[in-house]
């Protein structure tokens, strides 16, 4: 069974982290990251060709993590596979013992290193959630054919409280919950106020009772990164105060400041009703995760049956 699910069901504040597979075929590159994250987090998301850049397949990297005794969250985007391939990979993932899946649209192919590829988008992320839920709970694939053995998966989705239009963001969350999401991992939170507004709207619709919400955080490495995320990354909301705070410390100290902001954010999230965990996306900086989790008072991770 999914460790993530056990932690959340038991009422503990869950911690997940992100691991980007290497641009290469070296299994040790995955296992080294696994080593950094082991015992620091409950489960590890493995990204699926994030930003449309070709990397080791998420499914394979998840399998490596599994063999190292970790609980992977298989991220799957609908950009690269049609419904035949997606359903097939869901069955395969379950067969090799992967117990969590995160259903995503995926970054548009134009942003990556294969801009001439076709974007499949046969299903959208919400339809994909619905399909996975149908496979798991009713043992049927799209079209109604029955599965001999249904997959055993804890189903997740993403939410971006910072994209527009705000009023519709919660409608979309409700759709994801209705479609089959058990848990939600959000876009990186730097603007706690806006996140709070979104969370309240979710609470008012009873959504925090239907899905486990894990707040997303990303430690900033530098003031430059803060500005880049603010200005260049779509769907990202980095308030001026955060940029100024990063700029306010000398360059050699900015990483520490980034970690400090991240820890403060996690502490604030822990106090917000409806937030059941945190998802730490330390982009190519997995070393920072242990420190963040430790400083946020989230260690040791619970031991569960």
């Amino acid at each position: 069974m999914s460790r993530l699910r056990k932690v959340l069901d038991s009422g503990e504040f869950a911690v997940t982290a992100e691991c980007g597979p290497p641009k290469g075929a070296d299994p040790d590159a995955v296992l080294r990251k696994a080593e950094l994250l082991k015992d620091k987090v409950d489960s590890i998301n493995v990204t699926d060709n994030q930003t449309a850049i070709v990397r080791m397949s998420s499914l394979a990297a998840c399998s490596l993590l599994k063999s190292a005794g970790l609980d992977p969250v298989l991220q799957m985007v609908v950009r690269d596979r049609n419904r035949i391939a997606l359903q097939s990979d869901i069955l395969g993932a379950s067969a090799i013992g992967i117990r969590n899946v995160l259903c995503l649209s995926g970054d548009h192919q134009v942003f990556g290193n294969q801009p001439q590829s076709i974007g499949v988008f046969d299903l959208d992320s919400i339809q994909f959630l619905q399909v996975v839920k149908g496979m798991r709970d009713e043992a049927v694939i799209l079209g109604g054919e029955r599965l001999e053995t249904p997959p055993d998966l804890f189903i997740g989705a993403a939410a971006n409280p910072f994209a527009d239009p705000l009023s519709f963001r919660v409608v979309r969350l409700a759709k994801k919950a209705a479609a089959g999401a058990d848990f939600i991992q959000t876009q990186c939170i730097y603007n706690l106020e806006r996140f709070g507004t979104w969370l309240k709207m979710a609470r008012d619709r009873g959504l925090t009772e239907k899905v486990y919400i894990l707040g997303g955080v990303t430690p900033l490495k530098s003031a430059g990164m803060a500005k880049y995320m603010k200005n260049r990354v779509a769907g990202m909301d980095v308030p001026d105060e955060v940029v100024k705070r990063m700029e306010g410390v000398p360059e050699g100290k900015q990483r520490e400041e980034g970690i400090r902001i991240c820890v403060e954010t996690i502490q604030a999230l822990k106090e917000m009703p409806g937030v059941k965990g945190v998802h730490i996306m330390a982009i190519e900086w997995e070393e920072a995760v242990g420190e963040i989790v430790d400083q946020a008072g989230l260690l040791p991770r619970p031991t569960l049956e």
Binding site: D122, D124, L142, F168
Partner: protein
């Protein structure tokens, strides 16, 4: 309308290089509306090709003509009298036009001068937008008359994605977010609740189920 744009001249010159007598053939329908292959554009391309040929001392005959519709047999047949004078046709029709001319005159190579782009609307002079995929199963009613399949970069039927910011699409900030447009339009109609339901996966068999589609209408046939 079908939209198209002219290929680069050099690419066209390379394709026509084996031929000595070339008919540059325009089409006065869709591609004229989008200023790519009508009479005017045909004359310009033919003139440019003749000049290029003279500059390179190539002994070729390049003549031009435009017909009403290259994709309709009844119009293509009008070339019957002159087609034998040429050893190739350079067509400024859309992909359908190029093939229809080729179907009728099987022995003559028909070379495309345009890149056919999309089903679109003339938004304003000099601006054409893609807004229909020709999916074979129109869903515009549900989405306030704005097609998410054609106009959302990720073809979401349950959008908007997390990249919608201030009404713009993350893929190209010059492009409006189709989902923002859908939400705005439906709220104008007081019909936002249509978006609360999860739209099921698209039935793409209506578009590519048995390969190339055909429409056969007995009432229209002879």
């Amino acid at each position: 309308m079908i939209t198209a744009e002219q290929k680069p001249i050099q690419e066209i010159r390379d394709m026509i290089s084996p031929y000595k007598k070339i008919l540059v053939l325009g089409c006065n329908s869709c591609v004229a509306e989008c200023a790519a292959g009508g009479e005017k554009e045909t004359a310009m391309l033919a003139s440019a090709l003749r000049m290029a040929a003279k500059m390179n001392e190539e002994d070729v005959l390049i003549e031009e003509k435009a017909i009403e519709r290259q994709c309709v047999k009844d119009f293509v047949i009008l070339l019957d009298d002159i087609i034998d004078q040429y050893d190739a046709v350079l067509s400024l029709g859309c992909g359908a036009g190029v093939q229809a001319v080729g179907d009728m005159f099987y022995e003559v190579p028909v070379i495309p001068a345009l890149n056919t782009e999309f089903l679109g609307e003339t938004k304003e002079q000099g601006l054409w937008l893609e807004n229909c995929l020709g999916c074979g199963d129109c869903m515009l009613y549900y989405f306030g008359g704005i097609c998410p399949l054609a106009r959302c970069s990720k073809q979401l039927l349950n959008g908007p994605c997390g990249g919608s910011m201030e009404g713009r699409c993350e893929v190209d900030p010059d492009m409006p977010c189709a989902w923002q447009m859908i939400i705005d339009r439906l709220s104008r109609f007081g019909a936002l609740e249509r978006l609360e339901q999860v739209y099921p996966p698209k039935d793409w068999s209506k578009k590519q189920g048995v390969g190339p589609r055909r429409i056969q209408r007995e009432d229209q046939q002879r």
